[in-house]
């Protein structure tokens, strides 16, 4: 059922674009970690290191009109979707120029302009929302796709099962993207799930599914193209399990007592940027000057975002209770 146009375009330009997006997320979050230690960013900060290939492989496959529901580890999703890095960082600073006016912070990035329906800090909490977004589209006959990202920890929540059942029962155009990074906070997959082949759970609800190496950005893109095409054509849900790994701690407060350093080291050799860059180099598709250019462009964008965040302003405390309810149009 895969149309030829659904295959990744393996042009050099496309490949460099994927590499750049992954490097962009990685370097941005490295800066976030640094800003966190400098207390510019507070609260919980969940970094995406190691998982970049999922967002970078999947999100550009979506159309502008499609919708995205994300989790609290959503910086990468927001950046790839096109939420400006400036407003994302200003949000983490808590400034009113942030993409959620400083009301949401790292875990609650929202952006109406790009149909980005938010980070959600409740594990599994975004799944029912994705059902409703897709239900609205179905009832109106729109050909939109709603992509719902969640971790494998969410699979233990009742809302996961309620949502998959509703999506299949009502034939809703939802692309479920499970980012299986093997740890629900500090609890390993085998300790939290009786069935560790997450993809198989979709079958119980008669939802077509596929598992993909989430460390391989090309594999993710190819799978995402198949998945989005299937949802768009069939108007039925599709389940994509991306097998990945979180190289950093769950959050900035996590001492990682639950896993061996050796395990993390082993995964570092499989991480998506090193792997993809190495493959491009081996095939002479990327040159040192390409890498230098990418790094320079990313550094400039990050510098601009930091400057934007620093220059951002604090919302007057007099406005504290605004946006609890809609305000009359003035």
């Amino acid at each position: 059922m895969t149309a030829p146009t659904d295959k990744p375009h393996l042009s050099r330009e496309h490949m460099l674009g994927l590499l750049k997006e992954m490097i962009r997320i990685r370097r941005f979050e490295d800066k976030c970690a640094e800003l966190y230690t400098r207390e510019k960013i507070r609260g919980f900060l969940h970094l995406y290191d190691g998982e970049e290939a999922v967002a970078v492989g999947a999100i550009p496959v979506l159309e502008k009109r499609d919708r995205i529901v994300a989790t609290y580890r959503e910086h990468g999703h927001a950046l790839v979707r096109g939420v400006p890095m400036t407003t994302v960082l200003a949000e983490m600073y808590g400034k009113q120029e942030g993409c959620s006016r400083g009301r949401g912070g790292s875990m609650h990035l929202f952006d109406r302009a790009t149909n980005f329906y938010g980070g959600n800090a409740i594990v599994g909490g975004g799944l029912p929302m994705s059902i409703g977004l897709a239900l609205a589209d179905r009832m109106r006959g729109d050909d939109t796709v709603t992509a719902c990202f969640f971790g494998e920890g969410a699979v233990a929540e009742g809302e996961f099962h309620e949502s998959l059942n509703l999506a299949a029962l009502w034939e809703l155009p939802v692309l479920f993207v499970c980012e299986n990074n093997l740890y629900a906070m500090g609890t390993a997959l085998a300790l939290s799930e009786s069935e560790t082949e997450i993809q198989r759970k979709a079958g119980c609800y008669r939802i077509a599914s596929e598992a993909v190496d989430g460390m391989d950005v090309i594999a993710v893109e190819a799978a995402a193209r198949r998945a989005v095409h299937a949802v768009r054509e069939s108007r039925k849900p599709y389940f994509l399990e991306c097998r990945t790994y979180r190289l950093r701690a769950h959050s900035m407060f996590d001492a990682q007592l639950y896993r061996d350093k050796a395990e993390v080291e082993a995964w570092r050799h499989k991480e998506p940027i090193v792997r993809f860059q190495g493959w491009l180099e081996a095939n002479h598709m990327v040159h040192p000057e390409d890498l230098a250019r990418i790094e320079a462009e990313v550094a400039a964008e990050i510098a601009e975002a930091v400057a934007f965040g620093e220059a951002g302003t604090w919302e007057p405390v007099e406005q504290l209770t605004r946006f609890t309810f809609a305000e009359a149009e003035g």
């Binding site: 919708r67 942030g98 993409c99 959620s100 006016r101 400083g102 009301r103 949401g104 609650h108 929202f110 952006d111 109406r112 329906y117 938010g118 959600n120 409740i122 909490g125 799944l127 029912p128 929302m129 994705s130 059902i131 409703g132 977004l133 897709a134 239900l135 609205a136 589209d137 009832m139 109106r140 009742g158 809302e159 309620e162 949502s163 059942n165 509703l166 029962l169 605004r322 946006f323 609890t324 309810f325 809609a326 305000e327």
Partner: protein
Amino acid sequence: MPPQMTQPATTEITYRDAMREAIRDALRRDDRVFLMGEDVGRYGGCYGVSKGLLAEFGAERIRDTPLSESGFTGAGIGAAMAGMRPIVELMTVNFSLLALDQILNTAATVRHMSGNQFGVPLVIRMATGAGRQLAAQHSHSLEGWYAHIPGIKVLAPATVEDARGMLWTALQDPDPVLIFENVMLYGMTGRLAADAGPVDIASAAVRRPGRDISLITYGGSLWKTLEAAAVLAGENIDAEVIDLRSLRPLDDATIMASVARTRRAVIIDEGWRSGSLSAEIGMRIVEQVFWELDAPIGRVCSAEVPIPYARHLENAAIPQVPGIVAAAKAALGRV
């Protein structure tokens, strides 16, 4: 004497039928509106509210759901965010606790957390209250808990007019609105104007004016309180009865004006006393019109017990007319 005004034609209607008329009207007016919940379609609604609507509007708009309160409440949130105007029916407030995460953590927070980019124009209806011998897991009155939450509005229609009119107003609201329907009211009849339409959802109503004491209540307890007021009238006590109608936001102005006039207040609330809506109202009175009071504020609430099955125990657990009369007389020093 001025000529008699022509009274608008009225019809006798049950609260249940008034609610159904409200839903039917909403479905006709706006094709973005749909009703979703457990047994709302083929069964006709757990309390018979949506009977007949499936045949009239079809299964897309009268949508039976699985027993997935959190899932379909969240689906209502998503659909509302995407431009629809869903009405979600949760069978009872007890079951709504399975959807509390979606109501509190998502519906109530999205506008604020998104910096005003997304709103959730969702209406959630549910039954509340005791009196049908359904025991503890079907009989509680938790609307006061919901009234604790910023970001949602909480309504308690007590009359057929409000049952008919509040839904449309709620559907026009850009934010989530919860409507609590007391189970004992569904079969109640009242007269409704033939042209009855939307009502305001922002203010309390003085259902019985009086000079001597303010009896403040809402929902199913309104009718017991009016009955108590009639008993008190027989003893030369002229009670004013306030129907809150909206539990969040509370209409402080109507409450305080009444208490300032009567100088005494008793709050009747089918919720439990500890940490209750009645506690909130009492405290607001103390904060705002303490110097107008001539007596301590009284409360008639449910006993601090899960609602029991046996009829005599159930009746004893929730506010009743003699208890309201006694509390009013105590506030007046007429024991």
